[in-house]
């Protein structure tokens, strides 16, 4: 399906590049933001990726794991990640401070079909950590605002404190060229001024959708998909214009180790971005 090697290390796709942590701070209780730069300046500048792609991050002695690139290629040379503490590798990443080194290889995966999205209306639906991969495409659309029609963001979190990039998204609400709707399942602060309810309760806000010229992009916890997809189908958005990014276990990122196999595709090279049609077509996808 997909077939281009844009990996930063052309002769050995398994070999990481040293990168320095430029900035890191907590986003929520168990999610941290990391801004990193490849130590080799020339490589830092020539690291080309598209929204929706991911990188493999390694920590000496702990191992390696895949993470979505949260930054946008329209702002080159620095890469951003948001990482949730889940196990061995992520615990080790959490212990790192500014100026510490990590290993990075990539970019991998197909990414979003940005070119076919040009001129179209874009609806981005994110839940929880789904903001990590979708922030990249959101910022890309905003940085290239003329290339797209309407842009709408629907973002849901469990509680206000768990909404990652909270301040950034509040600031976006000021923009006239973006419809930005935020919601929490429950407000335990008493100060939340936005919508309360699951992310699907935001759908009535989307008025006058022109389905054939709309792309919808979804990423969130597994439970979210079923309900969000139902809403999108109600809006008559074509199944091959509903995009989602999926997670699988990954060891190599380059289509060799087999761990991310579904049916006969490899999530790491044929995905992680799939259309809803792919999902229906390939039994095991979600």
């Amino acid at each position: 399906m997909n077939g281009e090697n844009k990996c930063i290390n052309q002769t050995n796709p398994y070999l990481p590049e040293a990168a320095r942590i430029v900035r890191t701070y907590p986003l929520t209780e168990d999610v941290k933001y990391f801004q990193v730069r490849l130590v080799d300046m020339e490589k830092a500048i020539s690291f080309k990726y598209s929204p929706g792609q991911f990188a493999m991050i390694s920590v000496l002695g702990a191992g390696e794991a895949p993470f979505s690139i949260s930054s946008t290629p329209s702002r080159p040379s620095l890469l951003e990640f948001c990482i949730r503490k889940a196990g061995t590798v992520t615990n080790a990443i959490f212990k790192l401070k500014e100026n510490d080194h990590i290993g990075i290889r990539g970019p991998y995966g197909n990414g979003f079909p940005i070119e076919s999205m040009h001129g179209k209306d874009i609806i981005i639906v994110m839940g929880g950590l789904g903001a990590a991969p979708l922030r990249s495409v959101l910022l890309y659309c905003l940085d290239n605002r003329d290339l797209f029609g309407r842009v709408a963001l629907l973002h849901g979190a469990k509680r206000p404190a768990e909404m990652i990039f909270r301040e950034e998204f509040f600031a976006l609400k000021e923009r006239k060229d973006l419809e930005c709707y935020l919601t929490v399942d429950a407000d335990d602060t008493g100060k939340w001024k936005e919508n309360i309810g699951v992310v699907t309760t935001l759908f009535p806000q989307l008025k006058d959708i022109n389905p054939s010229k709309t792309f919808a992009i979804v990423c969130g916890p597994p439970v979210m998909y079923k309900f969000v997809l139902k809403e999108l189908i109600k809006l008559n958005i074509p199944k091959n214009q509903i995009l989602m990014t999926l997670e699988r276990r990954m060891k190599c990122g380059v289509g060799k180790c087999g761990h991310c196999a579904i049916d006969y595709i490899y999530t790491c090279i044929d995905g992680p971005v799939f259309t809803y049609w792919d999902v229906i077509h390939m039994k095991e996808l979600i």
């Binding site: 077939g3 002769t11 070999l15 040293a18 002695g61 191992g63 289509g255 060799k256 196999a261």
Partner: protein, 353 residues
Amino acid sequence: MKIVKLKKENLFPFLESLSKEADLWAPVQKYENKHSFQLIKDFSQIDLKYTRTILPPKKLFLPPTFNMFLATEQGYEEDFSHVTKKILFGIHPCDIHGLLILDRFFQHVFDDPYYSKARQNTLILGHSCWPDENCMCKSTNTHIIEEGYDLFFSELETAYLVWIGSSEGDDCIRIKPGIFDEDITDEDIQIYIKWHNERDKAFQVDINFIAMPDLMELKYENPLWEKLGDACLACGSCSNVCPTCNCYNVLDKPLLNKYASEIGRCWDACTLESYSEVAGGENFREKRAQRLKLWYTHKLQAYISKYGKPACVGCGRCASTCPVDINVQTVAKALEGKDMDTFWNRLSKEVTK
């Protein structure tokens, strides 16, 4: 293609002159009737009357475990120590086809240097074979080979017909030119044709692989998978012995007394339970039946849909290895709805009694 003749008594002298330049690997008998590709020190160990080796030749290119690089605070040092100059002698057509499938796989989109470099440093000297009751290569059309070797030795009564398949193969012949005979007689050709026809008749298994992608699709929800899943021990042996299984796991081995790690890889198997587990303990393929479906999707469906031929090369190793009779032959027959007398079928009858 150029074909020459070599008298049988000249085989070992020829191999000896070749092995001055590289390590010679060939089949030897390891246990009773069990063979293995081994590094040859003494030519009398070589046993060409073998059917299949326990492990396929992939072990020479990507060993069961090896190091990819050393990671230190200063950077990364690639480790290609598993790549040495080798000659693989005595490999059968099915296994050469297996390597051709791995080539396509490991060089697709991203080139895997650990595989490719080992491959480039190995001469492939094939050898003709005779089928037993588990050989399925006629059905997979991998019982003959036209590419993928440097030299191929077809055994006649007193001599070999030697097919020269590459420019490196031609160079080998030139190391000892006197022993190769360019004059192939009509009698040699008659012997060869007779051998070929008799071998064709010796195959005992016939599977319609072309029908398998459809049957896999149609029988995806069939209860037969649950039966297979109940019997499977999730031991992973089928993946280890299959010449076209490529899955691996990555190892991070911290070194004592140093802030450094050896990053290695080791063979893995999709039939093992931990294979598809992700964070939070969620497992996309918790049930053995689901994992076997993935295995057989790969062998019987995926590659046929993409390239018009199965990813199974019919070597029969799964059939001679799986302790509970789960193999391409029994699964294909079951998909065709044929009555089976296999361990897992007997088992499920016992259980439902």
